[in-house]
C-alpha cells in the first residue's frame, strides 16, 4: 500500500480531494440562477389548481412520480368530461328508454324492429330467445 501522505493543511488520503470538491461547488453562478428560474417556472406551471386532484403514490423510485389519475379524482374528471350530473341523468334516462323499447316494443314500432319488415319473432317459430343472453348476463352478475 502507498505511504500516508499529507498536504500543506495536514489532510491525508482522499480527504483533501473531497474537501476541494466540496469547496468548488459552493460558488453560485449565473448559469445556476438561470436554471433555478426555469425550474421555478416548471413548478408554477405544474402546481395543482383547486378542484383538480391527482392521485399518484410517490414512494421511492424514478417512475413513481408519473401516475395516471385514479380513484375519486378520476371519477370527477370523467363526470366533468360528460358534462356533469345533468348530462349523466339524461344519459341514464335514454338508456332506460332504449332497454324498455327493446323489451316491449310499441305496436307501431314492431314492423320497424323486425328484420323482415313484417310481424315480430315468436319464440316457437325461431327457436331462439332474443333475450336469453341478457338474462344470463343478469344471472351471472
Amino acid at each position: 500500500m502507498m505511504a500516508e501522505r499529507k498536504d500543506d493543511s495536514g489532510q491525508t488520503g482522499l480527504d483533501a480531494y473531497f474537501s476541494a470538491a466540496a469547496a468548488e461547488t459552493e460558488a453560485p453562478s449565473a448559469a445556476l440562477t438561470a436554471l433555478m428560474a426555469r425550474i421555478e417556472a416548471d413548478a408554477l406551471r405544474e402546481m395543482p389548481r383547486a378542484g383538480l386532484r391527482t392521485d399518484p403514490v410517490p414512494g421511492l423510485g424514478a417512475g413513481a412520480a408519473q401516475r395516471p389519475l385514479g380513484g375519486r379524482a378520476g371519477w370527477r374528471e370523467a363526470l366533468a368530461a360528460l358534462g356533469g350530473w345533468p348530462a349523466l341523468a339524461g344519459l341514464a334516462a335514454a338508456s332506460l328508454v332504449g332497454v324498455w323499447i327493446g323489451a316491449a316494443p310499441p305496436d307501431g314500432l314492431a314492423p320497424l324492429l323486425s328484420p323482415l319488415g313484417a310481424g315480430t319473432f315468436v319464440l316457437d317459430e325461431t327457436g331462439v330467445d332474443p333475450l336469453s343472453g341478457f338474462d344470463l348476463a343478469l344471472l351471472e352478475g
Binding site: R5, G13, A20, A21, E24, M47, D55, Q66
Partner: protein
Amino acid sequence: MPYDAMTDRADEELLAAYARGDAAAARALTLRLTPRVFAHALRMLGGDRAEAEDVTQEALLRLWRAAPGWRPGEAQVRTWLYRVTANLCIDRLRRRRSGPALDELPEPVDDRPSASEAMQTRARADALQQALDRLPERQRQAVILRHLEGLSNPEIAQIMDIGPRAVESLTARGKRMLETLLAGRREELGYQDDG
C-alpha cells in the same frame, strides 16, 4: 441572510404547501433543492454542465408532478430526489458508453510550484472528478453520496435500494480505486511524502 425564506420548514412540509397551490413554497423548494440536485448530477455525469442542468430540471419536474399524491412520512423528499437524479444520470451514462478516457481529458493543473491555493483546490477537485468518472456507476454513486453529499449510510442504502453493508462495501472499494487512480498525480497536486 437565510438561504430561502422558509428555512425553518421541512422539505416535506413545503411540498405539501406546494401541492395546495402555494407559489412561495414552490420558490423556496426550487432555491433549496436545485443546487443540491445539480451538484449531484454534475458529479455523476463527469462535469457535463449542460446534461446536469437537463437532469436537474427533469428530476424536479418529477417532484412537482409527484407532489399532489405525496404521502407524509413515507419518503423523504431529499432521498427521493437523489434516487431519481441518480437514475436519470445512470440512464444518460449508459446511452453514452464511449466516454472520454482519462488520458484524453485536458490536464487540469498548472504545475508551477507557485500556483495559488485556489488553483490547487480547483486542480484537486478536477482530478477527483476525473477519477470518479473512472469508477463503476454504483461505486461512484455511493462515494459521491457519502463523501461529497455527506449522507449517512442508511440514507444511501435507501436511495440505492441496497443494505447498509453493501453501501460500506461499495464506498470502500470506490475509495480504494480512487486512491489508486490519484496516486500518480500527488506530486503535481501539492502532496508530499510523509516519511
